[in-house]
């Protein structure tokens, strides 16, 4: 065999060895990829299976919540009136008045009174439900009823008039202390009265007899 043929034979053998090595390595790598994809598909299948009832459940939850919202909005508007209802919602959730109520399109154009500037949220809610305090009775276009940080007169005006504006008309508080005038007849022996009311004495003696029998 000529030398050139030997060299050619060696080159072909080298090519075959390289093909075998790299193709086998590629096959092994592809098998790893297949195994990894199988795991990924199993995980994705689990996700699909677990999320299958989500749509139905969430739709049911939303339907119930919508019914609740409709109920509460209707009740609030019915009891507090549109203006106060919008003001109450805007006081609890600032900016919510712009969105209005879902079932009351006119609420979007209702100007909300600034209820929350006078009362805290809890007082506000109770007051509106009880319809006791004249919250935002002034025009909504006017100034705030009270500066919550510094002012207190406007809030005082919401309470009974005598105690807040004319405290001098209230009866004086009793004087107490060492120089206070005697209000009651002093007793000589602690726990013993000098005289007992006649009617009370009679009734007590009768009850006592009945009790002992």
């Amino acid at each position: 065999m000529p030398a050139a043929g030997v060299v050619l034979l060696i080159a072909v053998l080298g090519i075959i060895v390289a093909l075998v090595y790299y193709l086998v390595s590629t096959i092994v790598a592809l098998q790893k990829i297949t195994k990894g994809l199988d795991d990924a598909i199993a995980g994705v299948g689990g996700i699909i299976q677990k999320t299958e009832p989500v749509n139905e459940v969430v739709a049911t939850i939303n339907a119930n919540l919508d019914a609740g919202v409709d109920l509460l909005e209707g009740l609030l508007v019915k009891k507090a009136g549109m203006s106060d209802a919008v003001g109450l919602v805007d006081g609890l959730y600032p900016g919510a008045a712009a969105e209005g109520f879902r079932n009351f399109p006119e609420s979007k154009t209702t100007k909300a009174p600034r209820i929350s500037e006078v009362y805290t949220r809890g007082t506000l809610t109770l007051a509106r439900l009880g319809r006791e305090a004249p919250i935002a009775a002034a025009s909504p276009d006017g100034p705030a009823l009270r500066n919550p940080a510094y002012g207190s007169l406007a809030a005082r005006l919401l309470y009974p008039e005598i105690r807040q504006q004319r405290p001098s008309n209230l009866p004086r508080s009793p004087i107490i202390g060492t120089d206070s005038p005697p209000q009651y007849e002093p007793s000589e022996t602690p726990g013993v009265r000098k005289r007992m009311p006649a009617a009370a004495t009679t009734e007590r003696s009768g009850d006592a007899d009945a009790g002992t029998v």
Binding site: P2, A4, G5, V7, L8, I10, A11, V12, G14, I15, A18, L19, Y21, Y22, L23, S25, T26, A29, L30, K32, I33, G36, L37, D39, A40, I41, A42, G43, V44, G46, I47, K50, T51, P53, V54, V57, V58, T60, I61, N64, L65, A67, G68, L71, L72, L75, V77, K78, K79, A80, G81, D84, L129, R131
Partner: protein, 85 residues
């Protein structure tokens, strides 16, 4: 004879390195996919584990229904107790 030497040299010095280069590229590409697939599988398993709480939505659904029913009862009572605006 010279042509045979030229052919052998081409096969040995050109074809063999080209074949090795191309096959090595394919192998490197295949090997680079393996970590990505492993990460995808890990993420899929983690996502599936995160959804284990989904059945609790059924409990949430029942609770929402009960809550709305209670709110409806309470609202009905308020409707009677509190005067209309």
């Amino acid at each position: 004879m010279i042509l045979e030497w030229i052919g052998a040299a081409i096969v040995l010095l050109v074809v063999l390195p080209a074949v090795v280069y191309l096959l090595r590229g394919v192998l490197n590409a295949a090997n680079s996919i393996v970590p990505s697939v492993d990460r995808i599988a890990a993420v899929a398993h983690a996502g599936s584990a995160d959804l284990d709480a989904v059945p609790l939505l059924l409990t949430t659904q029942d609770q929402v229904i009960k809550t709305i029913e209670s709110a409806a009862d309470y609202g009905g009572s308020l409707d009677i107790i509190v005067d209309d605006a």
